[in-house]
């Protein structure tokens, strides 16, 4: 089993390293001190499992999960977190509470082996949504582009479009693809700024210049840069309710 360790404290990493060395089937392929390194390591090393600290500089554990969770199994490692622990229990995601024993780590490894054997993946979007303090809305979108991570402030997003298994974020003339559903995106965004105008579109209300009626019961939203997006009947009533 190929494993990556992610923790911003050197001592915490060395403890995991020491415990893991006693397991002959475990190969440690990366040690990362922050979330960005973790994303890079997962992309390049393709490990089976990561031990992921929650509080880290730049990207926290949930943001890392959001970026790489579809490719790797995860065991969270944390000292204390009111909201996250409940979410872990609800979604059956394993976690270690610092300080932890070698036995507890062995148990977590057993669970992980079983999950890997079943081909399970962590429930990324449900977990990241539930682990945040209630009412907290996403302020930035993270998009993985190979080993790189793009950070887009939600204010800079024009609209979001569903494309098969992906959603496309449009921002400053560029398009960023991310593997998630439009429903998941809708749930995490502030619904006073972003409106689901159509089955396939979420619009940043700030970008809207006008609404055109172009067929019976059917409208088009004209954006500041001239882009035309279809607006469904429910989408139209949502928009009018907000404006």
């Amino acid at each position: 089993m190929r494993v990556v360790i992610v923790d911003d404290e050197k001592l915490a990493r060395s403890l995991l390293f020491e415990y893991l060395q006693k397991h002959s089937d475990v190969e440690i392929v990366g040690e990362c001190a922050n979330g960005l390194e973790a994303v890079k390591a997962v992309t390049e090393q393709k490990p089976d499992l990561i031990f992921l600290d929650i509080q880290m500089p730049r990207l926290d554990g949930f943001e890392v999960l959001d970026l790489v969770g579809h490719d790797v199994n995860v065991v969270f490692v944390t000292a204390y977190d009111k909201y996250a622990l409940r979410a872990f229990d609800v979604h059956a995601v394993d976690y270690l509470l610092k300080p932890f024993s070698a036995e507890r780590l062995a148990e977590a490894l057993d669970h992980a082996r079983a999950k890997i054997a079943r081909g399970e993946r962590p429930p990324v979007s449900k977990l990241t949504a539930d682990a945040r303090p209630p009412g907290a809305k996403v302020e930035r979108i993270l998009i993985r582009d190979g080993p790189q991570v793009h950070v887009i402030s939600v204010a800079k997003i024009d609209y979001i479009e569903a494309q098969d298994d992906y959603v496309a974020y449009r921002s400053e003339g560029k398009q960023y693809l991310k593997q998630q559903t439009l429903n998941e995106v809708e749930a995490t965004l502030d619904n006073t700024r972003f409106v689901r105008i159509h089955r396939s579109y979420i619009l940043n209300v700030d970008r809207l210049t006008k609404l055109e009626l172009y067929a019976k019961d059917s409208h088009a939203a004209i954006l500041r840069d001239g882009t035309r997006l279809p607006v469904s009947r429910t989408g139209y009533s949502r928009l009018s309710a907000l404006l």
């Binding site: 001592l11 915490a12 960005l36 730049r58 930035r140």
Partner: protein, 350 residues
């Protein structure tokens, strides 16, 4: 039961305070010469003692007719009737006492010689009873105000306790558990380092518990607490945490509220240094200028990081500076160019 009855000393004092009244009654009775001084005394002293106890009964009356909640007419009627009845009963008792003294031949013919002298004591009896009632009302008022004072004091103590409990509860659980995890890691790699970390942690916890119970502490003690905290964080963060401390020695004796800068130092590490990949340096400055003390705490922070504090720590500091120093205390916060700076300024009282 009347409170005075349960305390021997106060009872004796109370009875002694009646002796001038007994002397006065003696004079009244023996004024026209039909009763001898000894006879008058034999009537006055025992009967005064009896009436002293009778007057204590007005305490119960005072209890059931509280001054604040009863209208003046009712009070006048109640105490008027009570004093007349009591005094009349007292006169009857005096008469019987005179008859008794006469019949057992201590003072033969006493009853005949006492024509109406003792009946003249009626107004005095009424007056004494009303006086006793007034004194009782006074006592009750004093008692109540003492209780109120005690309650306020208890409330103050309670509030301070609660405040310190919240402060202590604010000792970050992340800090505690991560420190324990560091010890766990050090145990196998660096046993003496593990022991040192244990001692540092114990030292920090003990200090924060001790300092918390005091009203104010020397700044030097507060600084030592911050130092022991930073020593521990230094073990956790290693190279990422730098500490730059310049404190003039004459600042150490200035009195400050306990745990004043501790929450600020914790914020500097948790919200400033920890979210930065490269880390940074926490600056601590303290200097005296004239009669005032200036403390400056400064740390870099990542403007893009989402780790924003709740502001509870800072608010707490503001509140306590205001409480201890009033308008003479100042807390300024600057947040610019990726640097967070808090300046505290207040009079140095040692």
């Amino acid at each position: 039961m009347h409170p005075i009855l349960s305390r021997g000393r106060s009872l004796i004092l109370y009875l002694a305070s009646w002796s001038p009244i007994a002397v006065f009654i003696t004079i009244l009775l023996s004024r026209d010469g039909s009763l001898s001084a000894l006879e008058a005394e034999s009537i006055a002293f025992p009967m005064c003692a009896v009436y002293a106890f009778v007057c204590l009964s007005s305490w119960y009356l005072c209890k059931v007719t509280p001054l604040k909640e009863t209208n003046i007419g009712r009070i006048a009627a109640t105490f008027g009737a009570a004093s007349i009845l009591t005094s009349a009963a007292w006169l009857v008792a005096i008469r019987m006492w005179v008859v008794l003294l006469d019949s057992i031949s201590i003072f033969p013919g006493l009853n005949d010689r006492n024509t109406s002298q003792t009946d003249g004591l009626f107004f005095l009896g009424v007056l004494l009873f009303i006086l006793a009632s007034a004194v009782h009302y006074l006592l009750i008022a004093v008692q109540e105000s003492r209780q109120a004072e005690k309650r306020t004091l208890e409330l103050q103590v309670f509030a301070r306790d609660a405040e310190l409990k919240t402060l202590r509860a604010q000792i970050d659980p992340h800090f505690l558990f991560n420190s324990l995890n560091s010890i766990s890691a050090l145990t196998s790699q660096d046993a003496s380092g593990a022991r040192r970390m244990c001692l540092l942690l114990a030292d920090f916890l003990r200090r924060s518990l001790q300092l918390g119970v005091r009203e104010s502490i020397p700044f030097g003690d507060e600084l030592k607490l911050a130092e022991s905290f930073l020593d521990i964080e230094k073990v956790r963060f290693g190279e990422r945490l730098g500490i730059d401390q310049q404190v003039d020695p004459d600042c150490h004796s200035c009195m400050v509220p306990p745990l004043l800068i501790q929450p600020l130092i914790e914020n500097a590490v948790t919200h400033g240094i920890a979210p930065m990949i490269e880390g940074g340096t926490v600056k601590i400055r303290a200097a005296r200028s004239g009669s005032s003390l200036e403390i400056v705490l400064e740390n870099p922070f990542d403007e893009e990081a989402r780790h924003a504090g709740t502001g509870v720590g800072l608010q707490n500091v503001r509140d306590r500076v205001k409480r201890m120093f009033g308008d003479e205390g100042r807390v300024d916060v600057q947040r610019a160019d990726s640097r967070f700076k808090v300046t505290l300024r207040f009079p140095c009282v040692s």
